[in-house]
């Protein structure tokens, strides 16, 4: 039977297991939305208020659920608005398929109304992208798009849909499988490399696991935790890996990097064997490369060969799916487990790290003002038993949310790590809440970044999503202000956020609950009330204005050159 392109799209989405689409209509996709109206039982469509937020919402949905997030926007400005969201997902390897409308094929290249070359624009920030020129290619391309998005190193894939391809008719054929001769990710680890890795670990006196976002995306958390516990190997993590290992465990020594824990950054400096799992050694993680893990042999597990030896030279490269590689390594280690008294031989190492942890814990000075760190601690105490999902915007609050909240399960921390996109958190929380309707979803925001996508309060209220937004309001673009304080002689150019809206009234205007906290004594009771509400809530917490995030490794310095409180 012949179907229209729009109908074929619906059939493909259902076969890919899609249940939610974040979208925004427009001229080039009006037929697709028309068709979508007849599939709302299966393909629930959430109307966002800005395309950037639509992609972030699909991204939050993907991070929280592990499924592919889907977004559908119109051509031209709809497509260009989506670019920041796509680049955000690309940097953090999040599986998305973004459909953009396009002008009819006969008009492509004519500077038609709302025409942009979105395939050209997004080429460097997608894993791959397609322009569908012929309806006969449509189902095959969609199948490939989902396959590429979720396999190998995941990432966003864009499919550009000209209007005439959507309105034209063609036979619907669902390809039985996907075969691409030019795309074959390596999942299975090389046994020789695993044996070399095991050899290093057997001899190691101070081994350390550094986990990154790959642990989350490959669902390696469980096997990694087992391996760390069995062989008594301490664990540290990048921002992207948070939740991959329980933050309450005695082997956990915290986040590494620019705002990493003293114990974690010291551990990296002192380790003799570093097992990096699913981390790309970004500059925010390593600090000055020449000083990074300088006493350490490095075992690097990553599914993307380009991640290996890109920034850091490696002794044992393992190109594989993180989960498969950790399972394989654990097997090889099991065969040699008797060669070493693991707990005993690592005892001094762990004790030394514990001294760093106890001697230099995360800290801040209480002085009667509400300290932003204190807010995160209070939120943590209130929700720690109910597996909350925390989404963040980008800035100081993001770092405090990474430091002071103890994540215990994967997919519970949604944050823009690589691109550092302000405006990510609110829509990501929205997507996360839709993916996880039974979990409590909290967006930790700053007063600057919340204003970058605050229009999504409308989407949240309209869809009755009980997202809790906690604004650490210091009336500054705090992270930039911190740099200005430390490195630019306190010249606070364009960082005071004067002319801020009244966030409680804003909540009211959108139909959400709003609370303001100005006194320390009100902090816990008001947060408690806000978090217990079944409704969307905005909490405006007036925090100490010029609090800084510490520890801090200034850009370009080594990880041991930390500024402390």
């Amino acid at each position: 039977m012949e179907l229209t392109g729009a109908q074929i799209l619906m059939e493909c989405l259902k076969r890919e297991g899609v249940d939610t689409i974040f979208g925004y209509p427009g001229g080039a996709v009006i037929e697709v939305f028309d068709e979508l109206s007849r599939h709302q039982d299966a393909l629930k469509t959430i109307l966002v208020r800005h395309e950037q937020a639509g992609v972030h919402a699909a991204d939050g949905y993907a991070r929280a659920s592990g499924k592919v997030g889907v977004c559908l926007v119109t051509s031209g400005p709809g497509a260009t608005n989506a670019v920041t969201g796509i680049a955000t997902a690309y940097c953090d390897s999040i599986p998305l398929v973004v459909f953009t409308g396009q002008v009819p094929t006969r008009l492509i290249g004519n500077d038609a109304f709302q025409e942009v070359d979105i395939v050209g624009i997004t080429r460097p920030c997608t894993k791959h992208n397609y322009l569908v020129k012929d309806i006969r290619d449509l189902s095959g391309i969609i199948r490939q798009a989902f396959y590429l998005a979720r396999t190998g190193r995941p990432g966003p894939v864009l499919v550009d849909l000209p209007k005439d391809v959507m309105t034209g008719k063609g036979e619907f054929v669902w390809p039985a499988d996907v075969r691409m001769r030019s795309y074959n990710p390596t999942y299975k680890p090389n046994l020789v490399q695993l044996r070399r890795a095991a050899e290093l670990l057997v001899k190691a006196k101070k081994p350390l696991i550094l986990m990154g976002g790959g642990v989350i995306s490959s669902n390696a958390s469980g096997v990694l935790t087992d391996m760390a516990m069995r062989y008594q190997i301490p664990v540290v993590s990048t921002l992207m890996g948070l939740g991959g290992f329980p933050g309450t465990h005695s082997l956990w020594f915290g986040m590494v990097g620019m705002h990493g824990f003293v114990s974690a950054n010291k551990a990296v400096g002192e380790a003799d064997v570093l097992i990096a799992v699913g981390s790309r050694f970004a500059d925010r993680v390593t600090g000055k490369i020449s000083a990074f893990a300088s006493n350490s042999r490095i075992i690097h597990i990553d599914i993307d060969p380009t991640s290996i030896r890109k920034n850091v030279s490696v002794d044992v490269p393992v190109v594989a799916d993180c989960r498969e590689a950790v399972i394989g390594l654990a097997e090889v280690l099991a065969a040699r487990a008797e060669e070493k008294d693991w707990p005993n031989e690592h005892k001094d190492w762990l004790a030394g790290l514990d001294r760093y942890r106890k001697g230099n814990p995360l800290s801040y000075v209480r002085n009667g003002e509400i300290k932003p760190q204190q807010v995160i601690e209070a939120v943590y105490e209130l929700v720690k038993d109910d597996d909350a999902v925390i989404a963040t915007e980008v800035g100081q609050h993001q770092m405090w949310a990474a430091q002071f909240f103890k994540y215990t399960t994967p997919r519970s921390f949604l944050s823009s790590g690589g691109l550092g996109t302000m405006g990510y958190g609110l829509p990501a929380a929205m997507g996360g809440q839709i993916a996880m309707p039974d979990r409590r979803v909290i967006c930790i925001a700053g007063d600057g970044s919340i204003q970058m996508n605050s229009q999504e309060f409308a989407t949240i209220v309209h869809n009755k999503l009980p997202v809790k937004v906690i604004i650490l309001n210091n009336c500054y673009l705090g992270m930039v202000r911190q740099w200005q304080e430390l490195f630019f002689k306190q010249n606070y150019m364009c960082t005071p956020m004067d002319g801020q809206p009244d966030f409680v009234k804003l909540a009211d205007a959108y139909g959400a609950e709003g609370y303001r906290i100005t006194e320390e004594a009100d902090l816990v009771p008001t947060l408690q009330k806000a978090l217990a509400s079944p409704n969307p809530v905005i909490v405006d917490v007036r925090v100490a204005r010029e609090e800084n995030v510490y520890p801090m490794v200034p850009a370009g310095k080594g990880l041991d050159e930390m500024l402390l409180v």
């Binding site: 050209g120 080429r123 322009l131 001769r181 030019s182 030896r309």
Partner: protein
């Protein structure tokens, strides 16, 4: 260090810009690049000449392999290979100098493909070094115009013991 890479790609729209965009976006050099179809329909062959240290070249090769439309990348550094480039070069050659230019053309086995009262156009084939030598020698007569294909390469059938 100069490297020659052979890249097999799916012949679909945009594939050249994916490869070129990868080089420009990541700050890699392209010295020359040529593309043409192969015997297999739907597959094109690119030869890319680039430069960098070993770590950069490793990244270039890995990044190329990561492109979804790239089928295969061969690094000729590791292999015995035949390397050729063709150049058309128009040299000033009036009566007084024509003989000298023709002698040089003869030594390098160039073909004369066009001639006028004032200049000669030569077709030169050879590896990178030979092309460079011809340009150097003809420079003093005055080169009016030149066009080069960029390097093409092919693996030799007999390889050194490996």
């Amino acid at each position: 260090m100069r490297y020659v890479l052979s890249v097999l790609v799916e012949n679909e729209p945009g594939v050249l810009s994916r490869v070129a965009g990868l080089f420009s976006g990541r700050g890699f050099n392209i010295e020359s690049l040529n593309v043409a179809q192969t015997l297999e329909p739907g597959v094109s062959h690119m030869t890319i000449t680039t430069s960098g240290d070993a770590q950069i070249i490793e990244q270039i090769i890995k990044q190329l392999r990561k492109l979804v439309t790239v089928i295969k990348v061969v690094d000729f550094q590791e292999l015995a290979a035949v390397e050729r480039e063709m150049m058309l070069i128009k040299v000033q050659a009036d009566d007084s100098r024509r003989g000298e230019v023709l002698r040089i053309a003869d030594i390098f086995r160039c073909k004369v493909v066009d001639v006028s009262l004032l200049d000669l156009t030569l077709e030169v084939t050879g590896n990178y070094e030979k092309i460079g030598a011809v340009i150097n020698l003809l420079n003093r007569f005055g080169i009016k115009e030149m066009a080069r294909t960029g390097t093409m390469a092919m693996k030799r059938s007999m390889q050194r013991d490996s």
